[in-house]
């Protein structure tokens, strides 16, 4: 456990009945970084989020958040983290200001401090002219901002967000990331979020890829993409199993079969394309060359297509 880590997770498991939603996950989140848990639905990231946010009890393993033990010092942790849930947590019948007022009281803020802090957060998130609006009249993007203001009101050192861009259009999503970047830059807040959006994860400092409750990979987006090893070549063919076997035999290289395609990861992809098309001119229907994406990383580490489980 290092002094500059915001979260240390060690051997954490969580079961719903006999099903392991999170299975012996260990990792550290550094202080001041934007950290993403990336995974398809059912990968265990939301369960882990709920454990970290103190919503559900820690079943097995150890977690330290901001130097405090999650099992024994949950209340102390609660005061120092801000939590933004996937489901909206605003009272829709109340105004923006009223929502923030109640939130402040729940976190021990009062009087002038609460008033100043509310105004400050509303201004920072571009909500200053919406103070008296009832939440149910706001757009989805606006509501997200109020959620964010709510989560940041008590100056948390760590902000946890579960699927924060759910229901946001691309413009609002981009705004959200801008705001997150500013929060980190001005207040040094560590930001941890979950997402199932690959392009969103690419904006993080580091990504933990979750798959079936396990940690499949953990690194910066660039390092993860580099780890796949060069370019990725995808071939569409009538009989993927046969072609995969043939390619393996001829070139003695690794080939992944996936949903009616076969896939190779090789440096110098352009040369491989020429080689492959020459060797199997009839079998290959289409062949594409791509720089590795986070989806390639996911496939490489898990042997599954990213979207399989949610289909």
């Amino acid at each position: 456990m290092s002094a500059d880590s915001a979260i240390d997770i060690s051997g954490v498991s969580h079961h719903y009945g006999s099903r392991a939603a999170v299975d012996k996950v260990s990792l550290s989140v550094r202080s001041g970084e934007i950290f993403v848990f990336l995974g398809p639905n059912g990968s265990g990231k939301t369960t882990l989020f709920r454990v970290l946010s103190t919503l559900i009890p820690l079943q097995a393993g150890e977690v330290t958040i901001l130097g405090q033990n999650l099992r024994s010092q949950a209340t102390a942790i609660r005061g120092q983290i801000g939590v933004v849930f996937q489901a909206p947590s605003l009272d829709k019948k109340l105004t923006v200001a009223e929502n923030l007022h109640h939130q402040g009281k729940l976190y021990g803020l009062a009087g002038a401090e609460l008033r100043d802090r509310t105004l400050q957060m509303l201004a920072a998130l571009g909500l200053a002219d919406r103070t008296r609006d009832v939440v149910e009249t706001l757009s989805g993007g606006m509501r997200r901002r109020v959620e964010l203001a709510k989560g940041l009101l008590h100056r948390p050192r760590l902000l946890l967000l579960d699927e924060p861009s759910t229901g946001l259009d691309p413009g609002a999503r981009s705004d959200l990331w801008k705001v997150l970047g500013e929060i980190r830059a001005t207040d040094g807040v560590t930001i941890v979020l979950t997402t199932h959006l690959l392009e969103e994860a690419a904006r993080a400092d580091r990504i933990a890829i979750m798959h079936e409750g396990k940690l499949a990979a953990l690194d910066t987006p660039a390092a993860l993409q580099a780890s796949v090893g060069g370019d990725s070549i995808t071939i569409r063919t009538a009989d993927p199993a046969r072609l995969a076997a043939a390619v393996r035999q001829k070139f003695a290289c690794e080939v992944i079969e996936l949903d009616g395609t076969i896939r190779l990861e090789q440096p110098d992809g352009h040369q491989w394309i020429a080689r492959l098309v020459e060797a199997f001119p009839r079998e290959i229907e289409t062949i594409t060359l791509g720089k590795p994406t986070l989806e390639d990383v996911f496939i490489d580490r898990t042997g599954h297509r990213f979207w399989n489980e949610s289909k």
Binding site: L55, A76, K92
Partner: protein, 257 residues
């Protein structure tokens, strides 16, 4: 623990939220008052042949207002859960008992306000039901009954996932509880209804209100003594609040809807 935030502002703020929400939904305000007033008129007119009139049904109607308002106020915990508000309360560093008490107090104040409005209506139409002191004490007793019933509502609603399920409970449990509280039927020594109602804590609340709101009529039926009424109602209220606090301490996946 030192890092836990003070309880009182939490209680006040959550209770305040209940009130603001309630008065912002005007149909709730009217509905919770109108139905009991209609029942009051119908029962009083319909059962006049049995020598029972507006005065007889007055305390029972107050109890019904308390019951309906209190229960529907706490059923909103199901909404809080479904709409996500609850989860942000659950991860706040505030003590759990303060959150429960805030919710229950909010509901109780709403119920009490409605009952007092109806009490005013009674005074205006039937004259003062008792001395000023008696009326004041009856309001205090209403407050305790309201606490007990909101606590009961909280207890029933905490584990529920939809308010549909609550309607069943309302008709097979809460409405019969009101029927068997002496609100509607006068006490007959030999009746099984009387026997059953002795086990109903609400009976003692209604009886207490009858003691205070007598409209200067001579009571023709036996009532439990006033101190028994207060004692049972107070124990009922404390038990419901404590049980609510205990049940709210249980954290399950059900918290995550």
């Amino acid at each position: 623990m030192a890092t836990q935030v003070p309880a009182l502002p939490v209680i006040v703020t959550l209770a305040q939220r209940e009130l603001v929400r309630f008065f912002r939904q005007r149909n709730r305000v009217i509905g919770a008052l109108l139905q009991p007033i209609m029942f009051w008129g119908l029962f009083s007119a319909g059962l006049r042949g049995n020598n029972l009139g507006f005065e007889f049904f007055f305390p029972g109607t107050i109890t019904m207002i308390l019951l309906f308002t209190a229960i529907f106020a706490t059923v909103s915990i199901i909404e809080d859960r479904r709409e996500g508000f609850l989860q942000s309360v659950l991860v706040a560093p505030a003590p759990r008992w303060a959150m429960v008490l805030g919710k229950i107090l909010g509901g109780s104040v709403i119920a009490l306000l409605q009952a007092v409005v109806f009490l005013g209506l009674g005074c205006a139409t039937l004259g003062m039901p008792g001395s000023v002191a008696e009326v004041a004490l009856s309001v205090a007793l209403m407050g305790v009954i309201a606490l007990a019933l909101t606590g009961l509502g909280f207890l029933l609603a905490w584990r529920m996932e939809s308010s549909q399920g609550f309607h069943a409970i309302m008709s097979v449990f809460l409405f019969p509880m009101w029927l068997l509280s002496g609100s509607l039927f006068p006490d007959h020594p030999q009746s099984w209804i009387t026997w059953l109602s002795r086990f109903n804590p609400l009976t003692y609340g209604v009886a207490g209100l009858r003691h205070y709101l007598h409209f200067n009529e001579k009571l023709e039926y036996a009532l439990p003594g006033l101190s028994v009424c207060w004692l049972v109602t107070a124990v009922f209220a404390v038990a419901m609040v404590v049980l609510s606090w205990r049940i709210a301490g249980t954290r399950t996946t059900g918290d995550l809807l």
